[in-house]
């Protein structure tokens, strides 16, 4: 456990907390971008360079910007709730919080009672982009094609769903 890890984890969790609790939707989207960038930096910290940069490109570059677009298109940006009030939350927010707290308690209990607490740190796996590319083109070429097909279908589907319909 190193200091950079703690700093990145704190930034990520603060961003996630802000994304879920801030009152302005645009502020939520910006906090979400911070959380995504923090996760990308955590990947870099763990030694997964390609994944960290892919996370930055896809999430901070595309998903967060897409969310900002939708917020502006649905006029959520000028929502004017002066403060975070009951109107921002579901009818029984405490029930949702209790479920989340219970899930976290179970996960934390499982982590603290697992062998992850005492296993020695393994050596860093060999990791270079060339190996990743070879694996993608060799052993995982069929899933790669399936993902390409799915992305195409999702692109067309998103355009069709969001298109103005004829009255």
């Amino acid at each position: 456990m190193s200091t950079p890890f703690f700093i990145l984890a704190a930034v990520t969790l603060a961003g996630a907390w802000g994304a879920m609790t801030l009152r302005g939707l645009v502020h939520c989207a910006l906090a979400l971008a911070v959380a995504f960038a923090g996760i990308g930096a955590l990947y870099l910290n763990l030694g997964a360079q390609f994944l960290g940069l892919a996370q930055l490109l896809v999430y901070v570059g595309a998903v967060a910007v897409l969310i900002v677009f939708v917020i502006l298109l649905t006029r959520g940006g000028d929502a004017d709730a002066p403060r975070l009030s009951a109107a921002s939350f579901a009818p029984w927010p405490l029930a949702g919080l209790a479920v989340a707290a219970a899930v976290f308690a179970v996960l934390g209990w499982a982590i603290f009672h697992s062998s992850a607490m005492l296993s020695p740190t393994a050596a860093a796996p060999q990791n270079n982009i060339r190996q990743l590319g070879v694996a993608l083109m060799d052993a995982y070429v069929l899933p790669l094609e399936a993902i390409g097909l799915m992305l195409t279908a999702a692109l067309i589907g998103a355009v069709v769903v969001a298109m103005k319909e004829k009255p």
């Binding site: 969790l13 999430y59 939708v70 109107a87 899930v103």
Partner: protein, 107 residues
């Protein structure tokens, strides 16, 4: 605390925050944001186990964790695009993204 346990703890906190947001916020877009956060916490788990778990040093086996995360990122991007398009379509009909006002509406 080992680094693996630290990563798992951070990722479970991220999951809990995303779950709490998805369950308690009223705005559709923020519910989607909570789901994205939960997906990201799962990805962080994959990377942590890839880095600290036992693995073979050669061949495609040592890349499995990374490739799983790569595919998960692609699936999450597609999910975000379709979900946001759905939100736009619903907004065009109902003129609101508030879930409480959407419940029980006739199409």
């Amino acid at each position: 605390m080992t680094p693996l346990a630290g990563c798992l703890l951070v990722s479970s906190m991220l999951f809990a925050v995303g779950l709490a947001g998805a369950l308690t916020r009223r705005n559709t877009i923020l519910v989607l944001v909570g789901i994205e956060l939960m997906l990201n916490s799962a990805n962080l788990n994959f990377v942590a186990f890839w880095r600290f778990g036992p693995h073979s040093q050669d061949g495609a086996d040592s890349m499995t964790g990374m490739i799983f995360v790569l595919f998960a990122i692609a699936v999450a991007a597609a999910e975000a695009a379709v979900g946001l398009a759905l939100i736009l379509a619903v907004y065009r009909h109902a003129k609101t993204t508030d879930l409480s006002q959407l419940i029980g509406r006739r199409p």
